[in-house]
Symmetry: D2
Amino acid sequence: MLKVAILGGSGYTGSELLRLLLTHPNAEVTAVTSERLSGLLISDTFLHFRNTSLKFESLDLKTLTKKADLFFLCLPHKTSQETVAFLYNAGKKVIDLSADYRLKSAEVYKEWYKIPHLYSPLLKKAVYGLPEIYRKKIKNASIIANPGCYPTSAILGIAPIIGENFINTNSIIVDSKSGTSGAGRSPAQPFMFCEVNESVKAYAVTAHRHTPEIEQELSSISKKRINIIFTPHLIPMDRGILSTIYVRLKKKISLSDIHKLYHVFYRNEPFVRVLKNGMYPSTKVVKGSNYCDISVFLDKRSGKGQTLIILSVIDNLLKGASGTAVHNMNIMHGFDETAGLVSSSASP
Amino acid sequence: MLKVAILGGSGYTGSELLRLLLTHPNAEVTAVTSERLSGLLISDTFLHFRNTSLKFESLDLKTLTKKADLFFLCLPHKTSQETVAFLYNAGKKVIDLSADYRLKSAEVYKEWYKIPHLYSPLLKKAVYGLPEIYRKKIKNASIIANPGCYPTSAILGIAPIIGENFINTNSIIVDSKSGTSGAGRSPAQPFMFCEVNESVKAYAVTAHRHTPEIEQELSSISKKRINIIFTPHLIPMDRGILSTIYVRLKKKISLSDIHKLYHVFYRNEPFVRVLKNGMYPSTKVVKGSNYCDISVFLDKRSGKGQTLIILSVIDNLLKGASGTAVHNMNIMHGFDETAGLVSSSASP
Amino acid sequence: MLKVAILGGSGYTGSELLRLLLTHPNAEVTAVTSERLSGLLISDTFLHFRNTSLKFESLDLKTLTKKADLFFLCLPHKTSQETVAFLYNAGKKVIDLSADYRLKSAEVYKEWYKIPHLYSPLLKKAVYGLPEIYRKKIKNASIIANPGCYPTSAILGIAPIIGENFINTNSIIVDSKSGTSGAGRSPAQPFMFCEVNESVKAYAVTAHRHTPEIEQELSSISKKRINIIFTPHLIPMDRGILSTIYVRLKKKISLSDIHKLYHVFYRNEPFVRVLKNGMYPSTKVVKGSNYCDISVFLDKRSGKGQTLIILSVIDNLLKGASGTAVHNMNIMHGFDETAGLVSSSASP
Amino acid sequence: MLKVAILGGSGYTGSELLRLLLTHPNAEVTAVTSERLSGLLISDTFLHFRNTSLKFESLDLKTLTKKADLFFLCLPHKTSQETVAFLYNAGKKVIDLSADYRLKSAEVYKEWYKIPHLYSPLLKKAVYGLPEIYRKKIKNASIIANPGCYPTSAILGIAPIIGENFINTNSIIVDSKSGTSGAGRSPAQPFMFCEVNESVKAYAVTAHRHTPEIEQELSSISKKRINIIFTPHLIPMDRGILSTIYVRLKKKISLSDIHKLYHVFYRNEPFVRVLKNGMYPSTKVVKGSNYCDISVFLDKRSGKGQTLIILSVIDNLLKGASGTAVHNMNIMHGFDETAGLVSSSASP
């Protein structure tokens, strides 16, 4: 059994990781940290986890390095910077769910996160943990920068065609709709029930920090510099992201050819499902599962050529965070890739 | 007091109209029809309306023409075609909330609604009832084609700039998110609570019937043939539409100049509010009111120039249906335009 | 026009009061306080109130007494104690929406609120502002203790029969289900969207502070010492309280006789509606309105006699708080009792 | 591998069973029926089940008896009557999720379900499938009458004390709050999103068909004739039932003694968790799991002695239906009792 620790286990991604790892056939959770809840039984705090006798403990890295070999970090960005560095230097493997090691450029990091990156040499060591794109690198990585939730849905939706010369790479729009768990578990008025319920709004228009992450990866896959428009929206539900992606085409191409591209691209992927022609993905269908469901439509109405409309859905806490983290662990340690991730979603 | 009748009063738009008209200072509801509920007291069916002694009655046009001078039609399309014609020929004024008289071209109507328009000469008599655009024509109209909910949010969002030569009219994308009341009140599995709740999905991609309606009006305002991409989404809430609209610019222009255009365009409008720079509209803020709130953002990241991102929110049952119907009545009959529509929304 | 001020205008009851008073035909809002938002335009904070140029101001009582004649207090309990006293001594009328002047006994207050009441002589001056019970006293009161939300639904449900000798006054159970706005607007983890959504739970079982308030009023009406069991529950919706009330009968009595008692008791009340036999009240039907809907059922299954089941619904922010506050103002100042409160609820 | 079939697989309990059984280590689903969807791939209808190549088939019992050894029936009551009889006579084992074999008395069945029971001799063969009460009988049963959702939460909440002489068995009130999936998947206006959302209401007061089922089982456990008051409520969420149960005590007893009784009663049960003193169960904590969480409180305020308040929560589709069905299968076939049911719930 692989000994794993979760640093920052009191939030939504941390507790979701714990849920997955407590029943994982190849991993044993040996430590979970939380400064706020330190000393309390996990089973008294999260009443749904009553089969564990673990207590939350404080983030004491020296003690922790003796307890586990793989560390999942669900810490705020900035705190993650140094924690990753410490664990790396101690010879541990790290899967970092924060944004700290996702951007390859320390300058871009500073521009969007407004703080310097103090461990920039390590950025080269970190592998962007999107299995469908970087499976081989993940296998041998010591530091995994686990992808953001919006980027996962956007990149998986666009990856199969971003390198094709029939698309206009100057025109990509990602309009995403997210449930509220993406905002985290710390109390804040905008995320109170009565503020979110019965409402929809956009936020961080032209300014969301996941923008450079999506651009970096699309640029890397296509080997072109790509800028996108990304607009996130908050909708009244717990989990789920639907990204509606608009890509203009430079040449005519048939929908069935595009479908073929998607099917081939994902044909061996355990967690990406390309829907049949005309079927609509919904977040409910992937809720509680590690799947990304994708559907593609072609519009001919808008002027000068065609537009591709790609619909991509994930559960933001699973495929968009903790599920992919476990997937990465499985790849790194040679476990069955779907170990601990097989549950299909429930409906309703 | 103007005598008004509501034909088709058992659905959501019908009952919302009834709510508005029962307390309207200048109108008196003299008849409400429903085939299904005919003979029942309205107050026994809709428990929130207990201050009326009206009963639902059957749709007997000869009887009805003696009871009222203005008719609100909340009937299914196709049924509306002939009912409008009958009432028009009987010298009555009609506000038709169906789609039957919105499209000026009988051919386009047939293409999208899959049935012929049997009263096409009347299409010329009908005025598209969007007060901000057609106030003068509405004043003298006998037939009002009350706008669709999505078109209202889209057209009001784009109208101030659609005629400007700095925008690329070939590139307009309208990505709309709607509450569930837009789907109406008839039982259908996709709109059952457990299907809609905790989920978001797109539907009718490239194929929604509001597409030609938006295109007709944008073309008419700009005097250019305009095609758009329109993608509706269903989200788990009762009321509200947020349209996120993307328009590419051909030339550089400042955000403050665009703001100025919007402020000038709507400066005398009682029901359109252009938000201050950087503020986000939300459907909750307009829920229960007749307002359309609009905000404009400028993105410079996507390739080759700038993109305008317009956010436009309405309550689909009020500004997107019954509120505008009452607004049209007020204009047609010289009442105060805001009569019966003053209530601001409640929060939460 | 009566000049009114709202002290504590940034929460849900404060903003709901503001909504009602901004369109009230006989009142003019001259000041709204909020320490946190002091200096900001109300219309910039609450985007749904854009027809006012008022700014939030600080709670400076000397300045405020010059601005208004009637004060609505939406302050936390304890703060209300001294503010009420100051305003009373300054000759102003006060409607206090906190709990500070509801309990007639300073000892009971201390027992449940864990702080002493420093102005206990004023408790005798305060009138419990439930119009259906205390209309005459309200007319001449200077201090109104506006009832709590749960007590309003419970007392109105039980009042018509509490004095009858056919009920067992030792057996009353009030099982209440409340929307989340009752918890207020301050950020707290238990009321975050993802904690409340898709869940139901009881809280404060045997220990909720509204218990002595309900008991005091039922004891006062029946002239017996009455203790009840009160169990509040939190459910995932914005507004509304449903109280399911169980009362054992000592003698046989017919349902129609009980209905008669309720109808007679409320026959002249503008805001209480006793439903027809067999009809079910729902919170949606009263949402956004000042109505209390009541329905009564009789069960014969449980041992030793019959049990009455009373269902009582209100909108907790209106009939359960701000609506009743305005109703009290109307009574105190001789306005039409329904002024500013006529809107029926919308559905959905 | 045990071959199992699901008869009536298109509703919520049927699809939830399918979800559980598709990953069950000891069972293989060989047939799923649906008249409406017959011939369609399950994976095209329920997009969350794409790892199966099964098609829905018609309910042809002769064909089906060759395909499986254990049958789960998710059919409407009445249809279940004869289907159970046919399968029993064919030597098959049956777990019936309808109400047809729950009531031991054909007369009581007819009184509440308004149709005669045509196979009343079989009622004696059927075992009420509540594992915590009837584990031994379940082991050898051929027909399992799988308990109703409300009865499961109510009986498990009351069972530990119903036989004790310190309670007043004439006074039991069960006030239950249920999510909407309990109403099934067939389209009906009262369960449309916009009708259920943002509302709470009671229904079937004094008349719900689960009443005699609860009474039968409590009578059987206590060996006394017990009648209860049962009031179900519909709340706006997908899944979950909270039953708030009121039981008057005849003698004084301490809360810790009562806790002890509960802990002892359930000490070996894998799916019932008695919470620590003062902790509140919530439906969210059991959502997606097979747990029943129970908490007990003692109130001393109401007249003449004490009242016990028991809070009991389950996921109505799992512990209240399909989870218990799988639990029963596990017991009947000697599998590990928790096989296929280990997943803890996710939060949020």
